[in-house]
Homo-oligomer: 175 residues x 2
Amino acid sequence: MSLRHAVLGLLADRPASGYDLMKRFETSLSHAWPATQSQVYGELGKLAKAGMLEVAAEGPRGRKEYAITDEGRAELRQWLTEAPPETVRRSDALLRVFFLDHLTPLEAVAYLTGEAERAAHRHRHLEEVNDRIEWDDDALSVNGRLAMEYGLRFTAMREEWARWAAEQISASGGR
Amino acid sequence: MSLRHAVLGLLADRPASGYDLMKRFETSLSHAWPATQSQVYGELGKLAKAGMLEVAAEGPRGRKEYAITDEGRAELRQWLTEAPPETVRRSDALLRVFFLDHLTPLEAVAYLTGEAERAAHRHRHLEEVNDRIEWDDDALSVNGRLAMEYGLRFTAMREEWARWAAEQISASGGR
DNA sequence: TTTACCATGTAAGGCGTTACATGATTTA
DNA sequence: TAAATCATGTAACGCCTTACATGGTAAA
């Protein structure tokens, strides 16, 4: 149920239209909480109905600019501070690991090497983005840097694990 | 659409009933691909209808034991080797990071410290399980060890990141 | 005989994805 | 005036969660 909080969080900075929000979902939030246009417009309607948002202004082409209400801010704060233990995660990649014995050792090693390369690729991509961004000292930049660092550490860990795992298979499968 | 592959993967080892599978979902797969009883029985029906499974035996209490067919094995292999890039991940925890500036620095640090502690707790839990299990040299154990190592590395990374992030906030918020 | 465990299913409702549908305004 | 961009919505379908519903068998 976090789409709701993603929308509230974005609107807590400044008012925006559904169209504006989509751009932010596609950039900053794309790796944390992706959302489609369908979902965003739907959620805006629900949140407005629930009194957590209001239409602050209407513009050309039917543009509706939404602003967060006090009620919405309260909900956002409550979510942030109450910190319910994160929901269980599904991992396609980890699931495969459990079934690697249904492949030949060679195939399994190829899969794990591929995983390592995908992680490495993603890591390099993040580094490039990181180098290009000019981080300020403002609050948004501080948060952005934290998220970036998480991504960098995650992809690095992932690559190292996959290379290690490939070696394990090579070692036990080579007997 | 990986529930299907999780079921096929489990049945590729040996035939089992929906009830049997549920136990395996709750233990080994619970952190990779959780599934409910509702889902499992539903998926078994679909897979049987699609010819990827067959009812190999019927037992007391209406027990139906499913076995994977050649078609099912082909599907499993194809999924394992074709390795479509993993689906995007949603992370409740990472999403919060983007909105930490809507809390006071003290509250944000408290949140991150909590995250670190949750990760540390999970890490210790995995270590205990790891110590208790007697790993063999068979295929299942090899896979299980790979998954375990992933969990250990992931939780360790997560704790370190959260402690680092808390320090960043302390440093920039303390000005 | 009661309790625990084995065993399978259906229904309702929410979330997420993809595709469809429509049109106004700005820019080249 | 044609193309790009802005802008909002609906519909269908599948997956996931929660709750409900039912009953047989084995062990204490």
